[in-house]
Amino acid sequence: MARMAGRRLLAAVPVLLVVTFAVFAVAAASPFDPARVYAGGGAPGTGQDVLDQLRHNLGADRPFAARWWDWLTAALTGDLGVSTTLRQPVAQAIGERIGWSVLLCGTAFAAAVLVGTALGVLAARRRGGLLDRAVTSLAYVLEAAPPFWLGLLAVWFFALKTGALPAGGLTDTGSDTVTAGQVASHLVLPAAVLAVTQLPWFVLYVRQGVGDALDEDPVRGARARGLSERTVLLGHALRSGLLPVLTLIGSRVPELITGALLVETVFSWPGIASATVDAATGVDFPLLAALTVLATAAVLVGNLLSDLLYGLADPRVGFDG
């Protein structure tokens, strides 16, 4: 198990190198001009000389490979460079925001896994039954619903119609101290919306997995031996039915990140996701590269985690990844 983790981490190094190089190459090939984005774009008043000077100061007139190499060597010494879109050091920019994104994504993900599993098991218990049909069709509807729209709907209902929950922000808009209670109440809506967008996958996978397991010989054997329905369902069917869910956990990470992007925008959540878009359109190489490393690492760790869990849950699967 440790060997597998070690091997995967080693393999991550070339992957990260290639990915960051690709980011620099793609960004350099994009039509976006850092100097123009920096200047705000499109308003008269910024002349060519100022644009040229900005381009030079931002280093945007140098080849991307050289910039990548500079970034890489500096990053290895712990210097992540300076974000041009946020006008502050990258480490500081990420440090200020990432905790809130992790909190939001973590809460939403945990909720999606738990509720998704519960609903999936209930649906699988009686396939074709009323609950199954309700849960399944709801899952398909939610899967098709854009997170942005769900967010607005949630704001409209919970903040406007019932006044039960705050509509956005990390804390009350008028308050400038961050307290746990305030963050908790402000977290409910965005986390719930993000969880709901992730939910269908887990529901459908668990339903399918548990349903199939219920038809398999071991389960039928267990039933025949007169074990209680509860033991059969939770002890046998759920255990083998959960296996696909474990792989799903790893592969859902990228989608979780893009979902967080939209949800953070709707709820003015001060996370890292919104900075990502600005970094991309602003050709903010240092910030973009650091965020790409983070996202890639999240995906790699997610995959590793699901493989490890898979191995633990099913002894037939070894750790030779």
Partner: protein, 534 residues
């Protein structure tokens, strides 16, 4: 037994989920930030659409005044007239308009307690003009040659050429040398932790969420009545409207269609800010079609500006005939062009543009068509572009409307038209010179139409050099008349900015707003002077 137990479990789980949901709903939401109804009205929460990248004036923050954290040498009142701020009085202009001498106000301190001196002014201007400073707006100070301090309380600006509107530029905020020096001006901590002499002190900046301020008790203009000020950053228009309705915000900027939803609400007032924020179509001289004066004049007559104001802006705006709005004191009366498609057609007929088989005119084998770009994602510009194309089609000219990012559009400006926007209310020189002077043709975002008219060039120079207002007015009248005869752009509208505010404060006003509206524009431009309604 077994089936039943499952059902019971399911019911319990469902009940549990509902109970948790109910508990969550039951929690005090605390969404009503700012002033609770009936409480002491000493805080204000407003929703704005754009977050500043930096709070450092050295990088361009607050360059048009009203920065809340900072003061400039001068500032503008509701009438847009200048008055002294950190300067003790208006500058003395000598040397034929080339030297501006500002006496400074005594006894002003920065919010960290250190005194404000002439060195701070010198440091601010010199740093902005420094090559290594990434300030995109430094071109606005292009006239400045030297800034020097004379003693502690006098600052002297020497200009490269006589520049009449220079005083308008000195609303630019002054930063403390002791706090901003010795760090990377482009990325240092001063960008997020500013210190100024202004009426408010920054207490927190949660990026992507909000900026919070508290009143500066030692403000030289007196401590503001609104003690706490929050600027919530909400990019999406609908979310902003929703949070305003939920009581989360006291005021917000909104597009016209969302403002309509608040009209039945007695607790809110809608405030309309007049602007110099124009939308217009560039007519590139390099293009065979748009470069033809007959076509330019015909398009200028063919557009139905009043219909655009009515349908695109829902009445919140005015017809525009140039960068100078019709109600400005600088507007040349009599240069309004009526909507007259018949006259436009006749102009084209006379110039030899004859309708072809498909109704599009032709002349010497050239079809009367050109591409009109608008920046992708800008809905208002898209609508203007489509309305323009539809009006042009009625007189037999085809404008092919396309969207793209500025990176795509900019290299094509020489031949293609673009739906441009802009506007700075402070002085006619700011817009007119940049848009029309031939020396700035296709220079970045200046003079995007490559307009070239020697008479206009001469009048523009006269206007910026002369210190005599009557001479300047005559010069700008000349420019506007020339623009009516040979339009370099078809100006369409001036767009009002709309704000919905909770009705808690006395006598709210707005200034004439520029194209950009940052933290300082809006009814809260002078929040430091507000008095609660009793």
């Amino acid at each position: 037994m077994t089936a039943r137990s499952i059902r019971v479990t399911a019911a319990m789980v469902a009940a549990g989920v509902l109970a948790t949901g109910a508990a969550a709903c039951g929690k005090p939401g605390g969404g009503n930030g700012g002033n609770g109804s009936g409480g002491v009205r000493d805080s204000l929460v407003v929703g704005i659409a754009n977050e500043p990248e930096t709070l450092s004036p050295l990088l361009g923050y607050g360059k048009d005044g009203n920065s809340k954290i900072f003061d400039g040498l001068l500032r503008r009142g509701a009438d847009m007239k200048l008055r002294p701020a950190l300067a003790a009085s208006f500058p003395k202009v000598t040397d034929d308009g080339r030297t501006y001498t500002f006496p400074l106000r005594h006894g002003v301190t920065f919010s960290d307690g250190k005194p404000f001196t002439a060195e701070d002014v010198v440091f601010t201007y010199r740093t902005i003009l420094d090559e290594k400073t990434n300030n995109a707006d430094k071109g606005e100070l292009a006239a400045v040659d030297k800034v020097t301090a004379r003693g502690d309380d006098t600052v002297v600006f020497s200009l490269k050429y006589p520049y009449a509107p220079f005083a308008e530029r000195t609303v630019l905020p002054i930063v403390p040398e002791h706090a901003a020096k010795g760090q990377d001006v482009n990325t240092g901590p001063f960008n997020t932790k500013p210190i100024g002499t202004g009426p408010y002190v920054l207490t927190g900046w949660s990026k992507g969420e909000k900026l919070t301020f508290k009143a500066n008790p030692d403000y030289w203009g007196g401590e503001p009545k609104v003690k706490k000020l929050t600027m919530a950053i909400i990019k999406d228009d609908d979310v902003r409207a929703t949070r305003l309705r939920s009581g989360d915000l006291d005021g917000a900027i909104l597009p016209p269609n969302l403002v309509k939803g608040f009209q039945g609400d007695d607790s809110k007032t809608t405030i309309t800010a007049k602007t110099t924020d124009f939308r217009g179509v560039t007519l590139p001289t390099g293009n065979k079609v748009t470069g033809d004066t007959a076509v330019r004049r015909a398009l200028d007559l063919a557009v139905d500006r009043d219909a655009m104001v009515k349908s695109l802006l829902e009445g919140a705006g005015r017809a525009g005939y140039g960068p100078v709005p019709t109600d400005s004191e600088w507007f040349a009366k009599g240069t309004e062009r009526p909507h007259d498609p018949e006259k436009a057609k006749k102009l084209l007929d006379d110039a030899g543009w004859k309708p072809g088989a498909d109704g599009i005119r032709e002349k010497d084998g050239e079809r009367a068509e050109f591409t009109l770009w608008f920046p992708a994602g800008d809905k208002l510009r898209q609508e203007h572009a489509l309305a323009f194309a539809s009006d042009a089609k009625k007189i037999g000219i085809r404008a092919k409307v396309q969207s793209g990012t500025w990176e795509v559009i900019e290299p094509r400006l020489k031949d293609d038209a673009v739906l441009a926007g802009g506007g700075n209310p402070a002085d006619p020189d700011f817009d007119l010179y940049n848009l029309l002077h031939s020396s700035l043709a296709l220079d970045g975002f200046n003079n995007m139409a490559a307009y070239k008219n020697p008479e206009v060039d001469k009048a523009l120079e006269e206007g910026r050099r002369s210190g005599d207002k009557a001479v300047r007015k005559a010069a700008y009248d000349k420019v506007q008349h020339a623009l009516a005869d040979d339009p370099g752009y078809v100006f369409l509208t001036h767009v009002d900015h709309l704000y919905v505010m909770r009705d808690n404060w006395k006598d709210l006003t707005t200034q004439v707003e520029p194209h950009d509206h940052g933290l300082g524009a809006g009814p809260w431009w002078n929040v430091e002077d507000w008095q609660p309604k009793r």
